[in-house]
Symmetry: C2
Subunit: 170 residues, 2 copies
């Protein structure tokens, strides 16, 4: 994978996905070593009945192994108001759960970010290791639905967007 | 999965994902029975080296089995200018490839939508059947990068959005 052609395909692939917009989530877990969390733009719905979602964990992320090692995770869906939290959980070398981050634990132990009002507690059901990365399938056990009023946060081309009503196509 | 509690979880799950924004893709293929295609909001990057993506195919889609039966697929990333195409490939009971849809075949046989200038030709590498739906992992073999100028198309809560520069968070 070090020849010019493969490198070029990887660059083109990265460029195509960089321009593909995505909603923003933070995935948290505790594998027994303390709270861990990362910002992800790869959370997708797989099935509603049963309730299953999937996300990918990059081989490049140092936090990913701690998410993958947990039995359960919490997937938080971010609104535009949580952009600083999204940046924080995408920053390396800091205590992401330190102040001013507010969080608590569910009775079942998983860390939940207090600022985020829509989240799903999930049990990891399958993990597929592909190309050094991990594709995780998780069964949703609890859904906390927030207020519907906030504009959601969108990420594209290293830029954060809020999805406002002016952008509706009629 | 027919008791009230399970039904409620499925409804809450669907409500949470309905409010989670996503970029829009059309996935096309020909499994030998003619061109097939569907609009998808579930395409995610898994790994750049090697170049791998994933998407989910709903158990409810009648086109999904024809995508899953193909060896190769083309994933098209849509701009805001392709909203009518996105609607068309999400409409049942029509000939999606009929006029005014313009398409051609690659030398390798896959149907490509002429209106869309960013697409990835992929070989299906893994299929995971979960809860009646299918999670597909595909190895990217060719990337066609379009112009960068179009605002991308975003879908959320049954509404189409274009991601304009006014929505950038500073």
């Amino acid at each position: 994978m070090t020849d010019g052609r493969a490198s070029s395909l990887a660059d083109q692939f990265a460029a195509a996905f960089r321009l593909h917009p995505a909603g923003v989530a933070i995935i948290t877990a505790d594998d027994g070593t303390g709270p861990a969390g990362l910002t992800a733009t790869s959370v997708i719905s797989v099935s509603a009945r049963p309730a299953l979602l999937a996300f990918s964990l990059s081989a490049c992320s140092s936090t990913a192994p701690r998410i993958a090692a947990a039995e359960t995770v919490v997937v938080h869906f971010l609104g535009a108001g949580q952009v600083e939290l999204a940046k924080r959980f995408a920053t390396s070398g800091i205590d992401r759960f330190g102040p001013p981050c507010r969080w608590y634990r569910l009775a079942t132990g998983e860390p939940v970010l207090a600022e985020v009002d829509t989240w799903l507690r999930c049990r990891i059901a399958e993990q597929l290791t592909v190309g050094g990365s991990t594709l995780v399938v998780a069964k949703v056990e609890k859904v906390q639905l927030g207020r519907d009023r906030d504009a959601p946060l969108v990420y594209r081309d290293r830029t954060w967007y809020w999805l406002d009503e002016q952008a509706v196509m009629t």
